[in-house]
Amino acid sequence: MNTDRTLKAAPAGKLDVQAVRAQFPILSETVHGRPFVFLDSGASAQKPAVVIDCMADAMRHQYANIHRGLYWMSERTSEAYEAVRGQVAAFLNAPSHEEIIFTRNSTEAINLVAHSLGSLMKPGQAVLISEMEHHANLIPWQMLRDRSGVELRVAPITDEGDLDMEAYGRLLEDGKVALVAMTHMSNVLGTVTPAREIADRAHEAGALVLFDGSQAAVHRRTDVQALGADFYTFTGHKLYGPTGIGVLWGRRALLDDMPPFLGGGDMISSVTFEKSTWANVPHKFEAGTPAIVETIGLGAAIRWVESIGFDAIEAHEQALTAYALEKLADVPGLKVVGAPKQRGGVISFTMADVHPHDIATLLDRNGIAVRAGQHCAEPLMRRLGLHATTRASFGVYTDTHDIDVLAETLARIRDFFV
């Protein structure tokens, strides 16, 4: 290796990558005797010390079950928990903190809508997704279709990996689509979808729109009102936050009309054996003891991300992605999958004659973590005519050194096989 992390300047923007990296304890680990090079943030991001410490501090100094508790520890913990709702609302520019529902992850958020809004849909109506959905935004709608007779439509993508807007428009034409559920950023192609246009067309056709923001919310400022969204989901562990916590945002009027999803404590207004009535949103959708400490940790993660700022994050990741595309182009036999109009920090590729599994294992032996396989997007793989790809994905702590090591090691792996 002739690249030296400490001597390199940050690639672009005002973000001081080395200062950022210093806040992630895990990035100083070694793997197989090599410095750990983490290029799988798209699957789950690492956690800065402030998030880890915030969770530990809560459990050390200020913890009790929330709501209902008439004592100091419970009131303080409830306040800390509810304050994160406000933070998330501001993070998404949602009109009200009461529209923020905490779930386990993005998957549960989408399932919640599929069950609750889904129970109001009728045969003859349709849900429209795209060819590039993660299974999390496909299977819940398939299950709804099989449960209730709602039709499931799939909007095609172009060979570049963009949503085919003409075909999308045609699929909306008959006015049967009740909900468009679409990714805001593909976890395989990196495609950032034209959310505003998708939403406008959906609304013109009388459909609601849900964006799966699991990837998008990490890389760019999200403004659910500017996007024209009706529902938006994201997941804490990809946003440098804890596992076990995700978010569903929905417009108040919709959430008010939707029946609850899970039943239990804290989501009721009154209960008899004959009949129960429900609490107001958001509590109607949060049954049982929530992921209290994880929610507080998500608050710390959002505070941390905002302290860096999305201007710097986006500039950094865009520069880095451009750098990576260039570097990878030099690796013999390597082909990047897709060329979307707008790409977040995710690059999938194939390398002639070398299977993604072999690439991933050999990269790992050199300390480099990437993902290989179908990336929970099996139908997209089929659409692309591929069985699997290798994927490198970037976070706020990724630097050009990581990319250099990746490209060099890929070239050596290729030599090893050819």
Binding site: R34, H355, P356, H357, T361, R365, N366, Q374, A388
Partner: protein, 161 residues
């Protein structure tokens, strides 16, 4: 490449994956089986011809990683001419070796080495397949070398021995 990767991507394995000796199909197979890994789309198909209770020939069509191709090819090599009962026994031993529980007193390398080199009496040897055993230390890849054996199991499922 770095040490332990060398172990797994042994020259023998990489060579075998690049130039498999038993790739292809048989015109009139007596038995066929398929193994699939839906999580990555990998697949091995086996064609087998029999002579009485013996396997006479095996060919495989494998779409998969180097480990999977090598494993399929080595399976075909090891089992050609084998009795059906022995083929099953080799398969059982192969699987058992892959998931053998850890003995905390030994290092994993010592342990695997011992088990591979000294199979208990009456248990068939793995023959040329031993290099594949390095996969024990790469749990996520075990599925890759097992795939051809899943195909074999399917092929033999309806044969009485």
């Amino acid at each position: 490449m770095n040490g332990a990767a060398q172990d797994l991507y042994d020259r023998q394995i990489v060579e075998r994956a690049r130039n498999p000796l038993y790739a292809g199909e048989l015109p009139v197979p007596d038995l066929q089986g398929e193994g699939r890994n839906p999580l990555c789309g990998d697949r091995t198909r086996l064609d087998i011809t029999l002579e009485g209770h013996h396997i006479s020939q095996i060919r495989h069509r494998t779409r998969g990683c180097a480990l999977c191709i090598a494993a399929a090819d080595m399976l075909a090599e090891r089992l050609g001419g084998c009795g059906l009962e022995e083929a099953r026994a080799v398969g059982a031993r192969f699987s058992a070796m892959l998931v053998a529980p850890d003995d905390p007193a030994e290092t994993t390398v010592q342990k695997a080495a011992k088990r591979i080199e000294n199979p208990p009496e009456g248990i068939p040897s793995l023959g040329g397949m031993e290099p594949l055993m390095a996969v024990r230390f790469h749990k996520a890849r075990i599925r890759c070398v097992e795939l051809p054996w899943v195909a074999l199991k399917e092929a033999l499922a309806h044969v009485r021995v």
